[in-house]
Amino acid sequence: MAASVLIGAWVAAGLTLCMFSFLYKDNPFFRFGEHLYVGISMGYTIVRIYYDVMVKSLYTPVIQEGNMWLLVAAFLGLLVLTRFIPKVSWLSRISFAVIVGFGSGVAIPRIISSNILQQVQGTLKPILGNAGQSLFGMAQFNALLILIGVVTVLIYFFFSIEHKGPIQVAARIGIYFLMINFGAGFGYTVMARMSLLIGRFDDLILFGSRDYGYASVVLLGMIAFGLFMWERRSSVSPGPDQDPRNADSNARNEYPPQ
């Protein structure tokens, strides 16, 4: 096994355990991992912007292909940075005007086409069914249910008329459709997170094997010992480098609040 893979396994296992230590409570290991994540993300973003935007989309087309129009974009980009100089910070409005104006204009016809007309078409067309298909099949029932759902949800969000009588009934049906949507969305999100969790545990188990020098086991012991020492130290004295968030997190950990 290459040394870089072995070191990588130890680093990944250590950082994973540092982050998981938050399940116990907010602690220095987690805060280290959290800040490392912010720093590495920032560094990664800077490198990606430099190579993907500045070099690939700006420098190369201007210098090698002579596309001088991109200098306008560079100029507008530089105007964004005038936000750092309060006296001329208003110049950044020009760039924001271009971004927001063009974004709004481009969005209108595309939203009408894909988010409204196509959705209405997708809702109404299946009700009519295909040639040779029964008009009273399961597909037609589902299509009718979708139509009822779309209409009632829209009625629920329509506040220009008072929700009384049949409108109120329709709005209440719309609420049930929305609740199922939120429940399904929630269940789906939880399962996606669980899938990530399984992935992390899978890595930890792999890195805990003999091939990787029992990295997960050794690091788990070290972090547990570190947490024990940190608890002992903080119970004796708060310490000068105590993060002020600690006070809040300790208060939050007491449930119900005292």
């Binding site: 280290f32 980009g77 949507n181 993060d243 968030r245």
Partner: protein
Amino acid sequence: MILFLRRTFPLILTFLFGVAGALQYYIPHPVSEAALTEVSVWLRIILGFAMILGIASLCHVHYAKIRTRVAGWGYSLVVYLSMMITVVVGVWSRGQEEGTGFGWIYTYALLALQGTMFAMLGFFVASAAFRAFRARSKEAAVLLVAAILMMFGRVPLGEYLIPMAGPVAGWLLSVVNTAARRGILIGISLGGIAMSVKIIFGIERSYLGGRD
């Protein structure tokens, strides 16, 4: 003149770019398509500079913490050091990830941290659900049942425990969920169009910020 440049000129630009962007869709000509591609690259470049603004702002926050030695300033130092190391290694690797130090940082540090951070949300979501999902009303009960069916229906163990969970979850997703999602999407789209029109015609100006 300055007032014109500060207030009116950005609004004129917004209008012109907005109308041009909307009309472009209805002009299926190669020149129109090329213009759209070109301006999309412009936007990517401008957003790249805007990212610099955000990163600089974050750096400033952490620099202030280090300078004033506030509690926990050591963690801000971690942010700076890890950022610098990533940038140096990234530039050294010429932005390439395949088999380079930059790729190593991405695989063994960034992915591990990111994956764990989002995986932990599973615990907190489950904990929050335990407190929030008490079937206090009919609507909450419907939400609870849909969530449980969805969770059980998406894993083999769930389908083993509740055999109907899989087909019911599939039906909920493809029919009931689709209906509600379409309703929400159409509502959001109508709102989005209204907002876009307000922006193009200068009625909505909050994106410009400032007092004047």
